[in-house]
């Protein structure tokens, strides 16, 4: 396999993406795989009293253990970060102008911030319902 062919397979920072942003996307990937396995196993197999999805009572009971909202918040921050950096990378593939890229970056940053604040509020609200 030639070097030029190989280089098309390997992920690297693209034009308009700093090495740090690329690295965060790469590092959050395997962390997400682990958190997702944990999330799915606990939500759909261990935390559910019925088969399949958790009922409202299941969720409230599950959130009384403080480690659960902590892990879910970590999962939320990781998945939102990975997702929005990845989405920006896809938009970079379309060669946006600097002005468009700046708007996209601001929009995605605000969307990420709003999503994380909303998710933390939701996790704490659910945890408080069992008190």
């Amino acid at each position: 396999m030639s070097q030029s062919t190989l280089s098309t397979y390997v992920s690297r920072p693209r034009l308009g993406e700093t090495t740090w942003v690329w690295l965060i996307k790469i590092v959050t990937g395997p962390l997400l795989v682990l958190l997702l396995i944990l999330h799915l196993t606990v939500n759909h197999y261990l935390g559910s009293t019925s088969s399949g999805l958790m009922t409202y009572d299941d969720v409230i009971r599950y959130y009384q253990n403080p480690i659960i909202p902590a892990i879910e918040i970590l999962f939320l921050v990781t998945v939102v970060t990975h997702c929005l950096i990845g989405l920006r990378g896809i938009i970079l593939d379309m060669n946006p102008s600097r002005r468009v890229l700046s708007i996209v970056t601001w929009f995605l940053s605000l969307l990420g911030l709003f999503s994380v604040v909303y998710g933390i509020w939701l996790a704490l609200t659910i945890a408080a319902k069992g008190g």
Partner: protein
């Protein structure tokens, strides 16, 4: 500066859906992109739906009843399949980004996709 190069181009996006002339790396790339877009949509829908937990048991458990709808179930299965395909394709990308298996890209891709299919089939059996 070449201004035309920096113009937004929807054509580049649409070219992802063109199956002609693609090699393995091209398929891996398009699979990663399309599953990423699907999962982004799913993530925000998931966050919105979970907001019903703040409204009490009535709202949330009524939503749960909806998940028995075959179309919703199919959507859930699609999300699970996208997670598995994106996750394992992503593991391959990370390995090669750090110099592991760079000369065995195709084999890695086919191997991870075979494992993905087995896991997806497991979920199909469990969900139906």
């Amino acid at each position: 500066m070449d201004n035309t190069r920096n113009q937004p181009s929807a054509g580049k996006f649409l070219s992802w859906f063109n199956p002609l002339g693609r090699q393995t790396g091209g398929w891996a790339f398009i699979l990663n992109r399309i599953t990423a877009l699907g999962l982004t949509l799913y993530l925000f829908l998931h966050l919105i739906v979970l907001g019903q937990l703040a409204q009490g048991p009535g709202a949330y458990d009524n939503f749960l009843a909806l998940t028995e709808n075959p179309f919703i179930k199919l959507g859930e299965l699609a999300a699970v399949a996208a997670v598995i395909l994106h996750g394992l394709n992503g593991v391959r990308i990370i390995l090669t980004s750090f110099g592991v298996g760079v000369t065995r890209q195709k084999q890695l891709f086919y191997g991870f996709m075979a494992v993905s299919i087995v896991i997806i089939l497991f979920f199909v059996v469990r969900m139906y």
